[in-house]
């Protein structure tokens, strides 16, 4: 690890000020950033600890939720309002990592956790455009069983590893940001970028921009929602494919639907096309399959991950069928 300065911040303004003054990176639970520092992939000269404030989950007047960025993953997953109103979010969080890691990890840090591509992690042994722009990508023709089938580029085929973000993408979550220039809000689905030519730029955030909260709109549909994660062992593995879904059916027809995929792209993948194909249609397996096909029509397999297309299709259909079959 490269030596660095460390300071705690008392509130958001303090954090932003410190970061601007020192060029510091924000430190949440450190479960990702500190690992990357140990591997010398990240070498920040200074860290500002942002876990000392914005740690509450507050119910809004419109009955949505405002989740402080420093809320621990465990606390969020166990929150009674989250469990009852947004079960997909609880399920997604507890499907990730381990209890120990979730106890440390913050919501803000989870949003910005970086890819687990092993070529990205192999600092001095492999080429990676994310680490060293322009260097080349060893994953393209290397081990890429876990890599992207949607929205990848020649420069990068890595995936976003977060489970929580998949649920948030389905739930129309809004990210609250603060920077010296002021505050702004952003739909979560706009936060992460596709890799294009610059996979090193992973989000639309400006340097020093602080995530202060996540807002979940009131979303009745989310009461009937679920998360299904498919992975190589029963626990403690990243998703090969995951699906977050919420479904509202009236008289056998799909009134409304939310669908997002994980493990398939450089960003949490909101399945807009599938949703579009489903709204107003009869709730049938054939329809679910057609919607999944629509979403996956642009999927492109790499050497080792062609199975993900079929796996995603099956998982989408299975979770929608399950939600459709559940009693209200």
């Amino acid at each position: 690890m490269t030596p660095f300065q460390y300071a705690g911040a008392s509130d958001a303004a303090d954090a932003v000020r410190r970061a601007e003054a020192t060029g510091a990176r924000y430190l949440g639970g450190g479960t990702n950033l500190v690992d990357l520092m140990r591997e010398t992939i990240e070498r920040p000269a200074a860290l500002v600890d942002v876990t000392g404030f914005s740690r509450e989950v507050i119910e809004q007047e419109n009955s949505g939720l405002r989740i402080g960025a420093a809320t621990r993953n465990t606390a969020l997953a166990e929150h009674p309002l989250v469990r009852t109103r947004y079960p997909v979010l609880t399920r997604a969080i507890v499907a990730g990592a381990t209890a120990q890691i979730r106890n440390m990890a913050t919501v803000g840090g989870n949003l910005l956790q970086r890819t687990r591509c092993t070529y990205f992690y192999d600092d001095d042994g492999s080429r990676c455009n994310k680490r060293s722009p322009g260097q080349g990508c060893d994953a393209l023709d290397g081990f890429n069983r876990g890599h992207a089938i949607l929205g990848a580029s020649k420069a990068c085929v890595a995936v976003n590893p977060s489970d929580m973000c998949v649920a948030l993408a389905a739930l129309d979550a809004i990210i609250h940001l603060e920077s010296p220039g002021g505050a702004r809000r952003l739909p979560l689905t706009d936060l992460h970028r596709l890799p294009g030519e610059r996979p090193d730029i992973e989000t639309v955030l400006a340097p020093g921009e602080l995530i202060t909260a996540i807002e979940l709109p009131a979303l009745p549909i989310s009461m009937r929602s679920g998360y299904r994660k498919v992975r190589d062992r029963a626990s403690y593995a990243f998703a090969l494919v995951s699906v977050a879904a919420a479904l509202h059916i009236e008289d056998g027809h799909i009134e409304d639907v939310r669908l997002a995929l994980g493990g398939v792209s450089h960003k949490p993948w909101r399945a807009w096309r599938a949703e579009e194909a489903l709204r107003g249609q009869p709730a049938s397996e054939a329809m679910f399959r057609r919607a999944a096909d629509a979403e996956l029509s642009e999927a492109r397999p790499l050497k080792d991950n062609g199975f993900k297309i079929e796996l995603a299709r099956r998982t989408i259909v299975a979770i929608l069928a399950q939600l459709a079959g559940e009693k209200r």
Partner: protein, 777 residues
């Protein structure tokens, strides 16, 4: 391998086969084990008792001190830089920035490293512990991707790690053979190791096979695996003049001492290795470069050094199990009797080691077939030296063999257990030796009963619960009973009726010290509380590695010999005027803290009495075990019947093992608790072998890409179901204590049982491990 080494191998093999023939033909009584160990008939109640490990309190309370925890005054911490190319030269390495970094004592490269003598590999020299024959930081040549090229010493670990990140070696790559296909094309050689040649031909198997009415002829493959013991490899070393003390985590204690002495050109006794606790070995805790590098750096710095590998470091410089490609063919008559058995394996090893994964070992003694063709061939790949890993040979070999037997059963429409039992041989088919113990039918029958095998549907895909398809599978596991030469021990009894048994054994968490305290107490007729077993110091008697499930037998035989000598001396001391007068050592045994006549326990005298009458405070004897010739006189093997139930998700292909039962034929069980733990642990490793373990070796540059426990998958708790184990507890009359080793048998057969269960659940036959969900979609 050099021509000379090859010639040596061939000579060894010839000499070995001559010895084998002579021993095979010798009368039983001439061979160790010809007279059963008297312990087999002992009934003092300790043998088999589920006594908890004596070191458990130390481990649970954190007072057990491991190699990475030994504090030494003035100690420096080391960090290693690993090469990123597989072959070529280190052209330049600017060390100035690292040397100037805070806390750095020195940077060691091939330019300033002390000169070390090359070591023979442990498969070519009985005293060596070395995995390969490469020079350690002696020149600029690179032999594998991950080879250490520099070492940093600093006042703290963090300082060493940081300084290491300032080193940017420049290489000139050479042509490396990292693709298996290229290595195979460059030439294959028949595997041979430690005097054994991995090739058997009896009859014309291919011709017989071709003429058989029912056949299976398939290719099975298994990937590379890495060692992932919980404890990272670590060493703490200090020089005192020319005397070297090493705190190591090793399963090759005395061999490590010899090797370090050899490399530094010292007398063997100038090196002392301590390793009282080892956090898991599995074949991986041997002598790799880090011990030599740490000792060299300590010499250079004139200060003690601690070197703890990072998890990535373990992947870079500790070899694992090699990959295998196996052709397995069985030709049978319509009634199921085997006529021909073909098992041909191709494996990778390196130009600098010799470990042709002996995957045919389990096939040799498993089934009766007139015609056999078995062979292992090796290709040379530029990579870290592959090595032994729990159940080397059998773990992967039985996957092919036992999958094929299952396939044949399907083809014949037979129950796979009946098919196996129908082909039980009467003597070992390849060697013709008689079996010392073989209760294969019993473990299959008892296991089937307990597991509920009769509920299995022979047609695949018949049981389903929601999305989950449920299937059952069975397979047989097998592992040889091994005993190593070099066993020795020291035994002391004191006048207050206590005893100490000492030997250079290694306690890797299996319960070695506990079990030998138990056995010694039983032999002496003392309570467990009065016996101490001391291990983990290279200066203690014996030179036996903890490998091949042989440590218990190897030191057990030494302790038996030592005990015999002790009894003889005690009888001598007891003289002609006590209750033991006139008895020979064979007529007495330990009872109630003394010696008694075996068939007349009233003729008894306590150790206290014997020693005080002789005016001695204590009596110490030392003895060595006889050469392990019994394993050439009988075919000595353990067996298992592995039963397994799996659930396969019909939508996603996810696999969950829901039930496992292992029934074992392993001779007498010395400690029910530690043995069950070995069985279960090995079965869990078998689940990993079947479903997830796989080293991602990038064939483009020979680099291991998943060098971390986040990416290299082993089973987590949720992957491990209830595991039931049972055993026959029938003593092997020819093995010391009647017992076989139990450390490895559990991993053999497990992968095939799981694969067979997956077939029964889904109708899909997966012949390529690991069985990941994508293969079932």
């Amino acid at each position: 391998m050099s021509l000379r080494e090859k010639a040596k191998q061939r000579l060894q093999a010839t000499a070995m086969s001559m010895v084998q023939k002579a021993v095979a033909l010798a009368p039983d009584a001439w061979v160790p084990g010809g007279d059963p160990d008297p312990l087999i008939h002992h009934r003092n109640g300790l043998i088999g008792a589920p006594i908890p490990r004596l070191d458990a309190p130390e481990k649970v309370t954190g007072t057990a001190r491991f190699a990475a925890e030994v504090p030494l005054d003035g100690m420096l911490y080391a960090a290693l830089v690993y090469s990123t190319i597989a072959k070529g030269r280190l052209v330049s390495l600017d060390t100035s920035a690292a040397e100037a970094a805070p806390g750095v004592a020195l940077v060691m490269t091939h330019r300033n490293a002390p000169r070390l003598k090359p070591l023979p590999t442990f498969t070519s020299n009985l005293r060596s512990a070395a995995q390969d024959s490469l020079p350690v930081l002696q020149d600029d040549r690179i032999h594998w991707n991950g080879q250490p090229v520099a070492l940093v010493l600093a006042e703290t670990q963090d300082q060493a790690d940081y300084a290491k990140s300032l080193l940017h070696p420049v290489y000139e790559p050479g042509h490396a053979i990292t693709r298996f296909a290229e290595a195979k094309a460059a030439g294959l050689e028949t595997g041979a190791m430690m005097g054994m040649r991995f090739k058997d031909e009896i009859g014309d198997a291919e011709t017989v096979l071709a003429a058989c009415p029912v056949t299976v002829d398939e290719v099975y493959s298994t990937p590379r695996h890495n060692h992932n013991a919980l404890e990272l490899h670590a060493v703490t070393v200090v020089w005192d003049g020319d005397d070297l003390t090493v705190h190591d985590a090793t399963q090759k204690l005395a061999h490590t001492a010899w090797s370090l002495a050899h490399a530094f050109d010292l007398a063997e006794l100038q090196v002392r290795v301590f390793s009282p606790y080892v956090g898991g070995g599995f074949g991986g805790k041997g002598l790799w470069q880090h011990q030599l590098l740490a000792a060299a750096a300590a010499r250079l710095a004139g200060r003690p050094v601690r070197l703890v590998l990072s998890r990535e470091g373990v992947y870079r410089i500790v070899g694992g199990r090699t990959l295998t490609e196996q052709r397995l063919a069985i030709g049978a008559r319509p009634d199921g009797r085997f006529k021909a058995l073909v098992h041909l394996g191709t494996v990778a090893m390196t130009p600098h080691n010799n470990m042709p994964e002996p995957l045919i070992m389990g096939t040799r003694g498993s089934y009766a077939a007139r015609a056999l063709r078995l062979e292992v061939q090796a290709a040379r790949v530029d990579m870290i030296a592959n090595t032994f890993m729990r159940g080397p040979g059998e773990a992967v070999g039985t996957f092919a063999l036992e999958s094929a037997v299952d396939e044949l059963a399907v083809r014949l429409g037979m129950d796979p257990i009946e098919l196996r039992l129908l082909n039980e041989p009467e003597k070992e088919p390849t060697s013709g030796l008689p079996f010392s113990l073989r209760e294969v039918e019993k473990i299959f029958r008892d296991g089937a009963e307990r597991f509920g095998w009769s509920r299995r549907s022979q047609t695949p895909g018949q049981r389903r619960q929601g999305e989950w398809l449920i299937g059952m599978g069975v397979a047989r596991g097998t592992y040889p009973h091994n005993r190593m030469p070099g066993g020795a021990a020291r035994l002391t009894v004191t006048r207050d009726g206590r005893a100490t048994v000492e030997f250079a054994g290694q306690e890797m968490g299996m319960g070695t010290a506990t079990v030998h305290a138990q056995v010694t107490a039983e032999r002496l007729g003392l309570p467990m509380t009065h016996v101490i077993a001391t291990v983990g110091d290279s200066t203690l008697p014996g030179r036996v590695m903890a490998v091949a499930s042989a440590q218990t037998a190897s030191f057990g035989a030494a302790i038996a010999a030592t005990h015999k000598k002790l009894v003889k001396e005690l009888i001598g001391l007891a003289g002609n005027d006590g209750p033991l007068a006139g008895l020979s050592p064979d007529q007495v045994g330990g009872l109630n803290a003394g010696l008694a006549k075996l068939d007349d326990p009233t003729r008894h005298e306590s150790y206290a009495s014997i020693l005080s009458r002789a005016g001695q405070a204590e009596l110490t004897v030392e003895a060595t075990a006889p050469l392990p010739l019994e394993t050439m006189h009988w075919s000595m093997h353990s067996h298992s019947a592995m039963f397994c139930e799996v659930r396969v998700n019909a939508v996603t292909g996810e696999i969950r093992v829901s039930r496992i039962l292992g029934a074992f034929d392993c001779g007498r069980i010395l400690n029910a608790r530690t043995a069950a733990s070995q069985f279960r642990g090995a079965i869990i490793m078998g689940i990993g072998l079947a479903l997830m373990e796989e080293t991602q070796f990038d064939e483009r540059n020979g680099r291991i890409m998943n060098a971390s426990l986040a990416e290299y998958h082993v089973p987590v708790h949720m992957d491990v179901p209830d595991i039931e184990v049972m055993w026959t507890d029938t003593p092997d009359p020819h093995a010391p204590m009647g017992a076989h080793g139990v450390g490895e048998i559990g991993i053999t057969g497990t992968a095939a049982a799981i694969a067979n269960a997956v077939f029964n659940a889904t109708g899909k036959r997966i012949r390529d491990l690991p069985i990941t969900l994508d293969k079932l979609l």
